[in-house]
């Protein structure tokens, strides 16, 4: 249970890093990439997939 919670914390942390990269990005191609890879992290945090 504790390990599972830690994994959710880790997922949230990585999601925040991706969002930070999205904000700082200058290239639209990178922005699309960040948004696509962010989706599975958010779906897991929302406990949808």
């Amino acid at each position: 249970m504790i390990i599972t919670l830690l994994y959710y914390v880790l997922t949230a942390f990585i999601a925040l890093l991706i969002i930070w990269n999205l904000v700082k990005s200058k290239k639209w191609q990178d922005e699309i990439l960040y948004i696509i890879i962010l989706i599975p992290f958010l779906l897991r945090l929302l406990r949808l997939k």
Binding site: T4, K26, I36, I39, K49
Partner: protein, 387 residues
């Protein structure tokens, strides 16, 4: 306003829309209710947690359908949905629960042995979230499911899965595979606890035979067969001969390997008094060489690429343009169980299990599975449960 900021905003809106679209689909799939109309033979509906309280309230606290005959006899347990992406087992269980009348002995059916596994499809597999069976009163929709428990219910996976109690090292993902976690562990993962609860059920109810219903890809050598623990080899061999001689299909027999741990046909036989048998029917959708993975492939089992693989001698079961329809796969399970029970009851009359109103192979093909599914809209509340 900064152009880059506007672009980021619109791309984020697009991404959110994509996530919401996917999220709604995943949510609906996970929460789809599958109705079960209790047939005239059902005498009790228990919960799996009544055999192991730590499972209470969890997603795997499955319904346990009990069909008791008026005459004392043996007890059998039928497990559907050990691997939910192999739907023939669950559908056959539905036919039993909604139709069977037990005259002698007791039949226990679990339709969703790994209910968590029914609430997800293979990650990245582009599987359909559900499928529908046509009936005279409309159609009934079932969750597609996966081979493993949903990661939402058991996460993360270890680097290597060490099976309890043997200590054998297995693939990491099989820590969520219900057919690799027998006999289960009381303080283990959700999947291990589920197996532990079912092992307790087998012991508490004095189950004589356990049928674990599966389907296999045509490129897998263990197919169209009964995998039998050594306690059930004679029974399985005799049933194989009888089926191959009297039914319109052949059924093989495989011995349960003693060195491969965690499987129902091995561990149930080793850790309880029950005879454990695992039945395999062919399911083309599981083959790696398949084409489009959709509902039609799941239900009709037709795929030109698998047919081509067969022409190259790469398969362990025949396939032609007719495919492997779900009616055929369910019918095989029905006839195999009925044949085994006939032989068992002849050999051990005091532990016999006799039932009526369960169709055999030819009847399932002639009528279709939908013929045996009852309309939940016309069932009284007391006769309706959900999986």
């Amino acid at each position: 306003m900064d152009k880059a900021l506007i672009r980021k905003f619109f791309l984020s809106v697009l991404g959110t829309a994509l996530m919401v679209f996917a999220g709604i689909s995943f949510y609906k799939s996970r929460h789809l209710k599958e109705p079960v109309v209790l047939g005239p033979g059902v005498t009790q509906v228990k919960k799996l947690s009544s055999y192991f309280s730590k499972l209470e309230g969890s997603i795997n606290d499955a319904n346990v359908y009990v069909l008791e005959g008026s005459e004392p006899g043996g007890t059998i347990l039928i497990l559907g949905g050990s691997h939910p992406e192999e739907p023939a087992g669950r559908l056959m269980g539905w036919i039993f629960v909604e139709n069977a009348i037990v005259e002698k002995g007791t039949v226990i059916v679990i339709l969703s042995a790994n209910r968590s596994g029914t609430t997800v499809t293979r990650l990245g597999g582009a599987y359909p979230p559900d499928y529908s069976i046509p009936t005279e009163w409309g159609e009934q929709t079932f969750r597609m499911g996966d081979r493993w428990s949903n990661p939402l219910d058991q996460w993360p996976d270890p680097e290597v899965y060490i099976h309890y109690p043997s200590g054998q090292e297995l693939a990491y993902v099989d820590v969520r595979n219900l057919n690799r976690t027998w006999p289960g562990r009381a303080n283990g993962t959700l999947t291990e606890k589920t197996c532990f609860a079912m092992t307790q059920l087998i012991k508490d109810e004095g189950v004589d035979i356990v049928f674990d219903l599966h389907e296999a890809e045509l490129q897998y050598p263990v197919i169209s067969t009964i995998v039998a623990h050594q306690k059930g080899q004679d029974l399985a061999a005799m049933a194989s001969m009888m089926i191959s001689g009297t039914e319109d299909f052949s059924m093989g027999v495989e011995n349960s390997p003693e060195t491969l741990r965690g499987l129902s046909h091995r561990e149930i036989g080793d850790h309880t008094d029950a005879v454990s048998l695992l039945l395999e029917a062919p399911e083309p959708m599981l083959d790696a060489t398949r084409g489009r993975t959709d509902r039609a492939l799941l239900l009709e089992g037709k795929d030109e690429f698998i047919v081509k693989a067969g022409k190259h001698g790469l398969l362990f079961e025949r396939i032609d343009e007719n495919g492997w329809h779900i009616d055929v796969r369910v019918g095989r399970h029905c006839s195999t169980i009925l044949q085994i029970l006939e032989l068992w009851s002849e050999e051990q009359p005091e532990k016999g299990v006799l039932m009526t109103q369960v169709p055999r192979y030819a009847e399932v093909i002639a009528n279709g599975i939908g013929y045996y599914l009852r309309n939940p809209a016309t069932a009284s509340a007391s006769k309706l449960t959900f999986e």
